[in-house]
Structures are given as C-alpha cells and as structure tokens.
Amino acid sequence: MERSIKIVFCLSALFLASCDDDDHTAQLLGGGPGSADANNIVAGDGFCGPQGGNQALGQPSFDSGVTTAKLDLDGNPLGQGQDPDWNPETTGTVNGQPVNSGTFAYVVMSRDQINASGVSIGDWATVTNTATGQSTFARVEDVGPPGGTGEISQAAASAVGIRQVVVQTRDGPSTVPVGDPNVNVQAFAGTASIQGDCPPTNS
C-alpha cells in the first residue's frame, strides 16, 4: 500500500476564534475566515451567526460527538484539482448558487442523520474544535455518504483554527486538515429561517 504522502502546500489559516476560560463558554464566531482561494484562506463573512445567537437555536437535535474533522471543498470553484471528491455543486444554495466551501461555514450530514434528527438543509449548526474550544456557527448545506460525521467546509475549519494542507495521494491532490483534529458538530432542527446577523455592507 502506498503510504507516502507528499505535502505540496501548507495553508495558513487565520485564527479569529477565542475561548473564554472564565465562564467556560466558547465564543461562537460567524461564518469566519475564508476565501474563494483554497490556498489563501482569508477572512470572510459567510453566514455570520443567527440573529439572537445561541439562545435562538435552542437545544441541538443532532450531535456528532467527538469526531475527526474532514474537509468538504464542494462549491469552491478553486477546489477542483485539490480534492478527488470535489464537486462544483452543494445540496444547499445561496442566492441560487452552490455554497462556496472557502467562503461559507457549512457542515455535511448524511441523509439518515438529516432524517433522524429532523434537520433540514439550511438549518443552523455549530462546529467546535474540541482541542481548543474554538467554535463557529455554520449551516447544514450538503449531504454526504452514510457513516460520515465531522465533514465541514474549509471556512468552518479555518474558523475553528484548523489548518489545511494539500497532500498528494495516489488519487491525486487532496486537501486535508493538519494533524487529524477532532471536532464536535451540532445541528439545530427548524432554524433555517433564522436570519444571519451579518453587518450591513457599505456598497
């Protein structure tokens, strides 16, 4: 079996999250850093957070437990060639367009997870880096194969301090998290209609 993995690129992620150790409440960030460039993750707005914050979401209806983070590059035009499973489409859309993994913090759930938890595409979610406590708000925007948990967009990964590398595998280049970080993903059924709290743009 071919085990050699050659690191081609190392992506620097901007860490914007912080954890308040005093009250043990992780600060939930908005969609977090991200860009359309898979090799240059920078700050972006993404979905921001739900209006009303955590309290507006209630109790999670899906909890992945602690699971290894995996990256979904789908929807990011520059993800092509950097992930053998890359797809230009995502199940969810933003303004009729695929949800860009580099720009929007989103999570992936399997069809069974969606059904059993009552979650719908577009519902709010949270992603927490269990090693650092960094958390970000995200939305459920893609459907993955059975058995998968912890699959998150590049922007969600960056927002919780997970760095990404493009490695060469026998299937071609593949973008993976650095160091097999663990995350916890929670999703909140019936919250899709809660608007994001992004500040107005000066356009």
Binding site: G92, R111, D112, N115, A116, P146, G147, D171
Partner: protein, 182 residues
C-alpha cells in the same frame, strides 16, 4: 424462482420535483406523495404522516408497497453521494420508522479497509418483496480509491417497541440482515 421476483413490480421510481406524485397502495386506500416533502396520505389526500420533511438533494425516490398494503418502504437517492431509507407500517394506525445508518457501519468500515479508501458515495435500490414484511435491497458503494462494491441485504420490519428519535421515527423496527456481496 423466489417470491421477490413476483413482487418486484411493487417498487416505483419517482423523480423528485415540486409537482406532487402519488404512489398508491395495492388496496388503493393510501398513497405515498412525493414533492418537497414525502408524505403518507389516505385515499382522500389527507396527510397521515410526514415520512421525509426535506427532499433537498434527492434525485430519485423509490417507493415500494408491500402486497398487503401494510408496509411501505421509501428509498431516497441523492443527486451525488448518499441514500437513505425510511418506511411506514400499519397496525391500528400508521407508524414511521427509519433504517439507522449505524446498521451499515460495520459493513462500511470493513469495505473501507479492504479497498483502502473512505466511502465517497453510496446508492441503494429495492429489489422486490420477499415476504409482506421483508424487502430485498441492493446497494453500491464507491470509495476514494476508485473501488466499487456491490452488495445486497434484506430489510425486515419488526413490530417491537422502538425508540422515538428527534425526527419522529420509531427506531429499531427496521432491521437490515443477511448482508452479502454481489
């Protein structure tokens, strides 16, 4: 030949669209209605159960009624990567249940190790009723290494007390068994 051949025509494939499509039970008293959500309705069109709240991402929905009209299985196949199976069964009233993906967990893990890659897509289809409460399922998995695996199993209804999950399904009443390679 096996009885499943006899009942194979019970499965009807629907393309998901915003236009409602009904698949009627053999006795004509009920139907599965597929649109933005998938519902069980009675002959008058009154909704009895919501089987699937959100069909986003579904490309095909397969509906198979048992010959006695007391069981119905719905297979959602996604546009790209994965499928899901929900079902309903009737005693005095209708109940809805789900095939938990944990049942396939050991199979997926074994095949991932065998094919040296993680599961990247999976699809399933129904292959006819074996008995009025058991239906044959065929599936295929594709792994990141490019390898493909075809398999079959039997999905059996069991009318035992189940755990109600957050989606409203009574879990534990739809059991996969007799997994085998094809």
């Amino acid at each position: 030949m096996k009885r499943q051949t006899l009942y194979a025509a019970a499965g009807i494939l629907l393309a998901v669209s915003s236009q409602a499509k009904d698949v009627h039970s053999p006795d004509g008293r009920f139907a599965v209605r597929a649109e933005a959500s998938i519902s069980l309705v009675d002959a008058a069109g009154n909704q009895l159960l919501t089987l699937v709240r959100d069909t986003s991402g579904d490309a095909k929905v397969e509906v198979a009624w048992s010959p006695d009209s007391k069981h119905v299985v719905v297979v959602e196949n996604g546009e790209r990567v994965g499928s899901g199976i929900v079902a309903a069964w009737k005693d005095e009233v209708w109940h809805k249940t789900i095939e938990p993906e944990s049942q396939e967990g050991a199979l997926i893990q074994a095949q991932q190790a065998k094919f040296h890659g993680r599961l990247v897509s999976e699809h399933r289809k129904l292959n006819g009723w074996i008995t009025p409460s058991e239906v044959a399922v065929q599936g295929d998995m594709t792994f990141s290494s490019g390898a493909k695996y075809r398999y079959g199993y039997t999905l059996a209804f069991r009318q035992v007390p189940g755990r109600l999950d957050r989606g409203g399904y009574e879990e534990g009443q739809l059991i996969g068994k007799d997994y085998h390679s094809l």
